[in-house]
Symmetry: C2
């Protein structure tokens, strides 16, 4: 007890100001200082003022680690995405992070590079931090991940896809529908020999759903699907170029091509121009993603815009509702199917 009156011995603690020191200085009990931060409405104005003064004078920063241990739930949320820097997920991360930060939650972030092992490893580490909730991308996980998540017993969100039959909260859209929408757009414009170019990145299963939507739509129209697969893991622009060169050598060549994403489409567009083709007269081109450059290309690129940022924001809202940090309408809405927008430009 006598020792406790002194500055903490610097051997373990980093010598930081603690809640107890604040309490002593303010002449109140520790729990009152705790309440001052977590349930301020339960503390009288007078006490709060006294406490706040000491907090500022001492530069006290609450130790969230200790709080997390005591309460078994930290104000921290983990998110695993395939990558951070690509044009696809960045906005989702931003929306997720911003919405969380607005309510005092912090974001723990990791990327999987479309590898389920890396995802599992990230989820495992995250769980060690007792996160309040977890968000992962789509529904392709290893068994280990599924088990970890099932045992964790915290709110779980899957973003960028929409699988009503799965238990986690879903915030995304049906990639299959994007394929349908793209194919319909081209059919409506009168194109008939419509090809689809897959993604060169292995592991992008969502792109295969889009392909299936395209293929079914063509068959329904009495047309034969025509799928080109670039060599595995070639760089996006290159893969697009490769696809375009291959397809335009066929007789007859396609009169329209749907690329798995805008990067591939841009590569294809440039290759065609260098070969002296006029787009869209000689061949129409569509992408997916509405990356920043889509409107800057010549011709500007027709594409489908996913609700990237919105996905992140809504995912965060559902998390916050599950945690009671946000008013929830009855049970938290588990199925959140958002709309993609077809952005028609010059390339079709």
């Amino acid at each position: 007890m006598a020792q406790d009156q002194d500055r903490p011995r610097k051997r373990r603690g980093a010598g930081r100001v603690t809640l107890n020191q604040v309490a002593r200085e303010a002449g109140v009990s520790a729990i009152s200082v705790s309440r001052h931060f977590n349930q301020p409405e339960q503390v009288s104005a007078e006490l709060r003022e006294r406490i706040q003064a000491v907090v500022e004078r001492l530069g006290y920063v609450p130790n969230l680690v200790a709080g997390g241990l005591a309460s078994a739930r930290g104000r921290i949320v983990g998110m695993v995405v395939p990558n951070i820097s690509g044009p696809i997920f960045a906005n989702t991360i931003q929306g997720f992070s911003d919405t969380l930060a607005g309510h005092g939650y912090q974001l723990l972030l990791a990327s999987s590079y479309f590898s389920t092992e890396q995802e599992e490893s990230a989820v495992r580490s995250f769980l060690g931090w007792s996160p309040a909730a977890l968000a992962v991308t789509s529904h392709f996980h290893s068994e280990g991940t599924e088990k970890l998540l099932a045992d964790a017993d915290i709110p779980l969100v899957e973003v960028w896809d929409y699988q009503p039959r799965r238990t986690p909260i879903q915030v995304g859209f049906l990639h299959y529908d994007v394929g349908v929408m793209s194919a319909r757009h081209l059919l409506d414009k009168g194109y008939r020999r419509i090809a689809f170019v897959q993604n060169s990145a292995a592991g992008d299963f969502s792109a295969l759903d889009r392909r299936d939507g395209y293929a079914d739509t063509l068959r329904e129209a009495g047309l034969e699907p025509w799928v080109f697969v670039p060599s595995s893991d070639s760089a996006p622009f290159e893969a697009g170029k490769q696809a375009m060169q291959h397809l335009m050598k066929r007789t007859p060549w396609p009169d329209a091509i749907i690329f798995a994403n805008d990067n591939l489409a841009a590569g294809g567009l440039l290759a065609a121009q260098r070969a002296g083709l006029r787009m869209p007269e000689d061949c129409a081109v569509m992408g997916f993603g509405d990356y920043a450059f889509a409107e800057l290309l010549l011709p500007s690129l027709t594409t489908v815009r996913p609700p990237s940022r919105e996905i992140g924001e809504i995912a965060a809202q559902r998390v916050l509702q599950s945690l009671g940090a946000l008013p929830a309408e009855q049970p938290v809405q588990r199925l959140n199917r958002l709309a993609c927008k077809l952005v028609e430009r010059e390339s079709t």
Copy 2:
């Protein structure tokens, strides 16, 4: 003691498997299980095998929160950037995160939107997690932030800038030099009426350093700097367009323009083309950033490529070295000045 033999009471703990349970099942002491994870070389092969079997059977996940509290340092590193989704910082975040993850550290991320208040708020929250280290962007901080960081007594990195006189580890480049490099490039090509277009985003102080480098270089060459400032906080493409329209009305108009970044440059390029100008014959254009679309524009855009990903990687390495998680050459290298690359394309 008798209670402790049972499953933990579910009132507080989330009912997760604990280190003690593993220890009991394996017939060893708790500390041995702890060592199995943190200093495996200090545990005999026999014990490790026994422990590992139990860990897997029970699905034990170490509680990093408890560990963090006990050891006063969590394997977590905070990073604050102006934004996550922009083309600028995304690669730095990715490089930082990947390098850290490779050594068992997790990334806590927040964005400041160029606001020093938001940065301070993020730093404060991060510190509550006893991070092993912290990374912030450039050297423009509030006083509060400076104080928090100074008191924190953990490795601190400033990325995306290079200020030798500051105490934190610096990983970045001299924006002033980029301005010099850009201006020299244009002077060498024979351009003489060279204008500079500032960023429309307030708070981007680094862009002002680039402008200063440009201005000094022009003066040294006996030429007058010519700076255009777009209306504040207009969208990047719009700001570029606005600048181009304004500048090309002047007589004589500039024969070359340096834009504060590639977004502005793209907006300017498109506006000029719509006005029927031929680039670079009528006016050369340069940007900064080497965004993905730079090589896709027609004409493709000459620009300066910052070492974005490298900055993140080296920052992480310096952090890991400071923490002893990576072999360090003598004291950790505090000043890390990286090179930008001028990428010459068709627009100049």
